[in-house]
Symmetry: C2
Subunit: 225 residues, 2 copies
DNA sequence: ACATGAATAAAACACTTGTTTGAAACAGTC
DNA sequence: GACTGTTTCAAACAAGTGTTTTATTCATGT
């Protein structure tokens, strides 16, 4: 016999899914309350208003996922730069797409994607608490992998290239499913995808290091437009 | 003296912006009509209903952008695979982010991102008409760049990695702006960004080719979780 | 000048939305 | 068992939504 979650928790779980699937405005408190088996007024009682519920959802989603899938190896585990890169990439995939992460209630992943697209005021705190530290971790890894040969701007460019690949799988899953069935980012593909992005990115970084001397923008100057 | 656009066209332009910024549900026909200097009833008169307007917007956005920034060199222009890759990447960046593309009325880019996240029925046609052919073009380029050494699944993986990098810049622009000011994907950075993604991806493809013999999943097997 | 159809305008309609209200049910304590 | 604070519930409210209606203006061809 499983103890049922209290109303407040049920609301947060369901709301994360519905907010993500339909967006803040389109999601209605009526539907959220109904699917959570709660009364409509429960939202206002527990969270003041709809936005209060949304803030609670956002905080909950990030706290749980980063706790469950940390981006760095456990303390005391020595790891060379390449291995740290793989760990980082894999954590990202699992966080976004595994059943234990945001892939289970699949709307939750979309909620975050929506925040990237149109950050709400509530997201400012999240950026500082979770996103920026992640950027710094990855930047350090990229710097190490490149042997310290890259300037800050190029390090960040590479970091964005890496994150972009990972997030795109989560973000564009419905389209990927349509035009590349085999790569649908579901549980059993996560290791393959992590491995692919890892290798692709290693080569990418190396390539940036190797072409450092070339004058930017010379290549293909005559390409239109 | 510039001839003012007819109401129908003004509605499509403005609606693309507002739909993108706020989402289909949150965007109101009142606001769209007001900003387009049109009457509220004009939407229903010209497009039957709100969804009709949305469909018109979607079709318009894709038609214009792909006409303005084609992914392939002009007919009769011979180009080696690498050059075709650069052209493809650059076209993507300009389509998404330049003032002449979807970056001007910046909501339009977001509208497409929203469709990737949550495709509406109206998007099915777009996928077949525009997206799938793009996938095939890029797949052919990747295959050529790799010297024909990659199997279909890996080709598509690489293609997704490339597209992911490009789209991520458009999609996550607000966050990138916050944590990596120098790389804000605005007009003057597009060539730098195209060049970066081009080099990164060339190295990435090469790396996938070079590690073809390795058994998938062996690397980092003991990595948690 | 007139007739005809397309385009615009203001007002009204039916419906859904988030929120509030006041009463009822529940839990724990003395 | 009565008291108290917390939680749940059904009903009502005010604001905002997409759409329809009806009348008016505009453009064009004869």
């Amino acid at each position: 016999m499983i103890k049922p979650l209290p109303t407040r928790e049920r609301l947060i779980d369901i709301a994360g899914d519905i907010f993500g699937r339909e967006g803040f405005k389109a999601a209605t408190v009526r539907k959220i309350a109904e699917e959570a088996n709660a009364n409509i007024a429960a939202v206002n009682y527990h969270f003041r208003d709809k936005e209060g519920l949304y803030r609670a959802v956002l905080e909950d989603i990030f706290a749980k996922a980063f706790q469950k899938f940390p981006s760095v190896p456990p303390p005391g585990t020595p790891a060379d730069p390449e291995k740290r890169l793989l760990i980082f990439i894999r954590a990202m995939f699992y966080r976004f797409l595994s059943r234990e992460g945001w892939g289970g209630l699949s709307g939750q992943g979309k909620l975050i994607a929506r925040e990237f697209l149109n950050p709400t005021p509530a997201f400012d705190d999240i950026v500082e608490t979770y996103i920026r530290p992640q950027k710094n971790i990855l930047a350090a890894i990229v710097s190490d992998v490149s042997g310290g040969k890259l300037d800050p701007d190029r390090i960040i460019s590479c970091a964005v290239s890496i994150i972009g690949q990972c997030i795109y799988y989560a973000f564009a899953a419905p389209i990927i499913e349509k035009i590349a069935e085999n790569l649908t980012p579901i549980e059993k593909n996560l290791d393959f995808l992590s491995d692919h992005v890892f290798r692709f990115s290693l080569g990418g970084i190396q390539s940036i290091v190797n072409t450092l001397h070339e004058n930017n923008g010379i290549i293909g100057q005559e390409v239109h437009p």
